[in-house]
């Protein structure tokens, strides 16, 4: 049986409960190719059921809801399978399985979580703000995983009272700090009026980047390993 859910936490937990006894259950939140005669269930989030499942899972592993929240942000194709196997494994062992690296389900989840963690760390460095005429900062990004709101606390801590927007252009949403509150909002396009000095500082940064390189020690493969090409799109020094 194939269980379709909408990608939210509640709907995942409902689907998880519904599919629990089903040995060949497939969970998915995306389009998928059905085989002939395959049965499908469209799961509607059931708050009561989800809350009960959450409480029971929390009793097994108090950090598992954090894992769920992160894994639901994953942009990977196998995400739903990894999630289902990880939570089934958790329920079956009745204890935290995070460090059981010899168990496939736990290891897969660990790897997926690590990938998301790596991208969050990378984005803290690779986000590039431009200054708008109003003094606010705007940064377009396009991460693999849905993580733009997780960057808010980091940049709030360092930018003080300056308002800023981190715009996930591929998911058409933005993490916003308006000077007082931070929130997430849907955002399609943005028209930016740059501040007078913006271009100059950007050129100076490009010049810095070119000057600090040592041409006789070229290691392009290493550079691309640390800073994959897909992140270059919004970095002025790489365009």
């Amino acid at each position: 049986m194939i269980y379709f859910y909408d990608g939210s936490k509640e709907s995942f937990l409902t689907a998880f409960v519904l599919s629990y006894g089903d040995g060949d259950a497939t969970l998915t939140s995306r389009d998928c190719q059905l085989s002939l005669g395959q049965e499908t269930v469209f799961v509607k989030a059931d708050p009561a059921r989800a809350a009960k499942a959450e409480a029971r899972l929390n009793a097994i592993d108090s950090h598992c809801m954090r894992d769920l929240d992160l894994l639901l942000r994953s942009g990977e194709k196998q995400r739903d399978g990894v999630l289902l196997r990880y939570f089934r494994c958790l329920a079956a062992y009745g204890r935290p399985v995070r460090d059981m690296y010899q168990v496939d389900a736990a290891r897969e989840a660990d790897r997926a979580l690590r990938k998301i963690g790596t991208e969050i760390h990378r984005m803290k460095g690779f986000v590039r703000f431009m200054e708008c005429a109003s003094g606010a900062l705007y940064a377009p990004v396009s991460p693999d995983n849905d993580i733009c709101d997780l960057l808010l606390p980091h940049f709030r801590g360092r930018l003080g009272s300056i308002p800023f927007v981190i715009h996930d252009v591929s998911r058409r949403k933005a993490a916003v700090f308006d000077g007082e509150h931070s929130f997430v909002a849907p955002l399609g396009g943005a028209e930016i009026v740059l501040s007078a000095d913006e271009e100059n500082w950007r050129d100076l940064w490009k010049r810095y980047y070119a000057s600090v390189n040592i041409p006789s020690r070229e290691r392009l493969k290493q550079m691309r390993g640390y800073m994959p090409v897909r992140y270059w799109r919004f970095m002025p020094e790489k365009r």
Binding site: L137, I162, W201, L204, Y208, S216, R219
Partner: protein, 415 residues
């Protein structure tokens, strides 16, 4: 705004400094811009594979010293420039706000006098912290022979300071950096370490070098063997409490009769860094990892070389070996060792499990048993198998003066 040309000159003079890390400081944002990020953060990577974390810049490249290896030495024919403290502060604020950098790495050539130079550095960081309200990471280079009071005050504003030892022996310093002595570099380092521990003990408010001190050694400009370099490194970690020692393989940008005209090679630098990691995280001592000839082996990484010379300790059983033993197995790093320690609490690990856990078995399999099974080659074949795939670009023309003692007398003419 600083001009592009000036920026280019001042960055060009600073770029050979390898230290660029921004980790270790948890400074809070005190109502301005910036904070410390203890993990450290890389903001970009240049085509030479190095990260850009800090804005690496010289205050001035107008030097009164004659260090032979240096691009900025007094008699070099290079364009000179000096930045004002305001220019640097403005640049840091603009770059930091746009998330281009994690902080400032401020260094300088010795301009006019050591005290004058240190004063300029101090003025800049003080301005940045108090006027511009910048709370991000600042790394300041210490100037040898500068007044202790200036250095101490700078340390109150900086997150990290470093004195570059550059050459691993007094003899080489005398030859290549005649105005510096070993003592002029080590004494301020010791004094800062002492003040830092006093500051911590007194639990005073504010900061005193929260990210500690580092230093840098040039490898291959002078004839010291790896063993000497590593013993120096070890002493610096143990006695002066340094956070890092960086190695910079010598690149001949300057031509001088006293300097080699070949670059030292990146492999040597790589091996030294591997050895450095063994000292800091793997419980090795410098004496253990150096070969009898005083150098590291170039065809094998230092841990592998050590293990092959100590086959009596191997193979070890991964399901029972304590952490410090696991860390000594070639191919098993800190992360793999941790994973093994965690996973084996739930059940015995087999070779298959290790493979799935992404423990690199290429080297490790010769030195471990998993659940009693051994999949390695026999002792005589191991060396051949391990060296076969390694890089070997260290082949060089034999040199008449290739050993350390004769090399010095060849340069100085003394017998």
């Amino acid at each position: 705004m600083i001009s592009e040309e000036k920026l280019h000159i001042l960055v060009n003079g600073a770029k050979f400094d390898v230290s660029c890390s921004s980790s270790g400081s948890k400074r809070k944002n005190g109502g301005g811009i910036g904070n410390g990020f203890a993990e450290g953060c890389c903001h970009s990577f240049t085509p030479d594979g190095r990260c850009v974390s800090l804005l690496k810049i010289l205050m001035s490249n107008d030097c009164i010293y004659h260090c032979k290896y240096c691009v900025n030495r007094a008699d070099a024919d290079v364009p000179r420039a000096t930045a004002t403290p305001e220019e640097i502060c403005e640049l840091v604020m603009a770059f930091y706000k746009r998330n281009y950098i994690e902080g400032l790495f401020l260094s300088s050539a010795v301009c006019r006098t050591p005290d004058y130079t240190m004063e300029q550095l101090l003025r800049t960081v003080k301005l940045l912290r108090t006027e511009y309200k910048f709370f991000g990471y600042i790394h300041v280079k210490g100037i040898p022979y500068a007044d202790g009071a200036l250095v101490r005050e700078t340390a109150r504003y900086a997150d990290r300071m470093s004195y570059n030892i550059e050459l691993p022996s007094e003899q080489s310093l005398k030859l290549l950096a005649p105005q510096k002595t070993r003592e002029s570099l080590l004494a301020p380092m010791r004094s800062l370490a002492l003040q830092s521990s006093q500051f911590k003990a007194e639990k005073r408010k504010g900061h005193f070098l929260p990210a500690g001190q580092t230093t840098q050694l040039i490898v291959g400009a002078s004839p010291e063997p790896d063993g000497q370099i590593l013993r120096l490194t070890q002493a610096l970690y143990r006695k002066n409490g340094l956070k890092r020692v960086y190695y910079s393989s010598y690149v001949p940008v300057v031509h001088d009769a006293l300097l080699p005209d070949r670059p030292a090679g990146e492999l040597r630098e790589h091996r030294l860094y591997q050895a450095d990691w063994l000292l800091r995280f793997y419980g090795f001592t410098a004496e253990e990892i150096v070969n009898d000839d005083g150098n590291l082996s170039y065809d094998l990484d230092p841990k592998c070389a050590w293990a092959l010379n100590h086959m009596q300790y191997f193979p070890v059983e991964v399901n029972r070996a304590p952490l410090e033993t696991l860390l000594r197995v070639p191919g098993i790093g800190a992360r793999s060792a941790y994973k093994i320690m965690q996973a084996r609490r739930f059940g015995a690990l087999t070779f298959e499990d290790l493979g799935k856990m992404h423990v690199v078995l290429k080297r490790a399999r010769h030195f471990i048993t998993a659940n009693g099974k051994f999949y390695g080659a026999n002792e005589t074949a191991v060396r051949g198998l391990l060296t076969a795939g390694e890089r070997n670009d260290g082949a060089v023309q034999l040199n008449l003066f290739s050993d350390a003692e004769t090399a010095h007398s060849a340069l100085t003419g003394e017998l």
